[in-house]
């Protein structure tokens, strides 16, 4: 029963081969992560396990706050990603939709272009 399952096309059957492939990959990665534990030498001292700061003794925690700029870039990424996601269905039957569909897509892109322009003007895309 299960043996014949591969033949028919369904969304699940299409993606099932990913599973054995993933298992092989996971096996390799797990092996590579554990091998050095068996082969490598094990010495431990305070200087070795300190975090690297060019030889100077580490000062304070690394867990400090940093620029909010990274956050803004990530948000812009998500919002434009969604734009692409909405344009995919349009791109896929662009010929069936014709000129009307094209105009609608242009409106869609133009509205988001305003957003890009706003971010541009506010200096979000500039890195000091």
């Amino acid at each position: 029963m299960l043996m014949f399952a591969f033949q028919q096309t369904s969304a699940v059957a299409d993606h099932v081969p990913l599973l054995p492939y993933l298992l092989i990959v996971l096996g390799l990665v797990a092996a590579l992560l554990t091998l050095p534990l068996l082969l490598g030498r094990k010495t431990k001292n305070a200087v070795k396990s300190a975090s690297y700061e060019c030889g100077v003794a580490p000062k304070g925690s690394a867990r400090q706050r940093f620029s909010v700029h990274f956050y803004l870039v990530a948000v812009l990424f998500i919002l434009f990603d969604i734009e692409a996601v909405f344009l995919f269905p349009w791109a896929l039957n662009i010929q069936g939709l014709g000129l009307a569909g094209f105009v609608e897509a242009v409106v869609f892109v133009a509205v988001l272009g305003l957003g890009l322009g706003y971010a541009w003007r506010k200096g979000v895309l500039d890195w000091q």
């Binding site: 014949f4 940093f66 990603d81 010929q95």
Partner: protein, 355 residues
């Protein structure tokens, strides 16, 4: 053996071939990179271990395996260990979606030249490349070191910025191809220089229909794989070693393996989307019957040759161009590539919708 058993055995072989392709190209690339760079700089490069230094990558491998596996005192142990795995698993999975060869008939069935023939393949490829970000960000964070953290953040910000341009350039290709399935995208391109009524395709390979999308994708590919001139996240002169500063031994090499397999993966995607996949003009008139095993192997060979050229290009560029500054890099991503890609989509849309 019954037909079904033959089929599944062949399927397993195919799985292993694709996997070996991904893993096997890594030592070759490491070797090629060192030899090519040496050639370009009038040096010898590795030539001691084995003939022409061919065994050098394996010697490196043994050395790395025997190194001490350090975990910094203040690191988050579990996340520190998972991060290298997270960076190299997605590029591995990319290879399973790539149609590396045409399909052939076996035991009365069609054996496809791809492990996972997904109807939404290209979307999943884009998704996989965005999953790579986790490894970098978590690796940098879990090390609990200032350089690692900043390096991890920088590379993640860079990757997501260029991913956007990449995704939108793919959009233009879809306007031409009209499908998300990678095998079909290749099939559309095999109609070389013939008019294909359904897709309105005049000139086979997408690189001719979409040269701008190709350039954008290529530039983004360099940024995605953290290669020079976009390897700023690991710029030695500024951030010590970037997100993998604190890593040693095999965990360190997993990051590098991820980078090299990522290179193989992204070259494969480029070949599939723009360069006709396993196909080249005149392939059908060589006397090899399409749909048979020899034809499949021929296709695989063509595919390997194509990604070989691209990989050489990757290496050549690394030793030719200087590195960008971080602000330049972000500016190129957001102010040049993104608007250009959007414009390209709209122009393509106008042409295709108007025809």
């Amino acid at each position: 053996m019954s037909d079904t058993q033959v089929y599944y055995l062949a399927f397993l072989v195919k799985l292993l071939v694709v996997f070996t392709l991904a893993v096997g190209l890594v030592p070759i690339l490491v070797y090629a990179e060192r030899r090519v760079s040496a050639l370009m700089q009038f040096r010898w490069g590795p030539n001691r271990v084995g003939p022409f230094g061919l065994l050098q990558p394996f010697a490196d491998m043994v050395k790395l395996l025997c190194k001490e596996d350090l975990v910094p005192e203040r690191a988050s142990k579990v996340l520190f260990t998972i991060a290298p795995a997270l960076t190299c698993i997605p590029p591995f999975l990319v290879m399973s979606f790539i149609p590396v060869a045409p399909s052939f008939a076996l035991a009365g069935r069609e054996m496809k030249g791809v492990v996972v023939d997904s109807p939404v393949g290209i979307l999943l490829l884009l998704a996989l490349s965005s999953l790579t970000v986790y490894g970098l960000a978590i690796g940098g964070w879990a090390s609990n070191s200032k350089y690692s953290l900043l390096g991890g953040l920088r590379s993640s910000a860079q990757m997501i910025s260029y991913e956007l341009a990449m995704g939108i350039s793919v959009l233009a290709v879809l306007c031409v191809s009209g499908t998300l399935n990678l095998s079909e995208i290749i099939y559309r391109q095999t109609q070389f220089f013939g008019y294909d009524a359904q897709s309105g395709n005049w000139a086979g390979w997408n690189i001719f229909a979409q040269p701008l999308a190709f350039v954008i994708f290529l530039v983004a590919a360099f940024a995605e794989t953290n290669r020079l001139p976009f390897d700023l996240p690991e710029a030695e002169s500024e951030l010590v070693g970037g997100y993998h500063t604190e890593y040693s031994s095999m965990k360190f090499s997993l990051f590098f393996m991820g980078e090299y397999i990522g290179m193989v993966g992204i070259s494969s995607v480029l070949v599939v989307l723009f360069l006709g996949g396993w196909h080249f003009p005149g392939m059908n008139s060589l006397g090899v019957q399409p749909g048979t095993l020899p034809f499949t192997l021929l296709g695989l060979l063509v595919f390997l040759a194509k990604i070989g050229v691209l990989l050489f290009f990757f290496i050549h560029v690394r030793w030719t161009l200087p590195r960008f500054r971080y602000d330049q890099l972000m500016r190129i991503g957001w102010k040049v590539l993104l608007p250009l890609a959007l414009l390209n989509v709209l122009v393509t849309g106008a042409v295709v919708a108007g025809s």
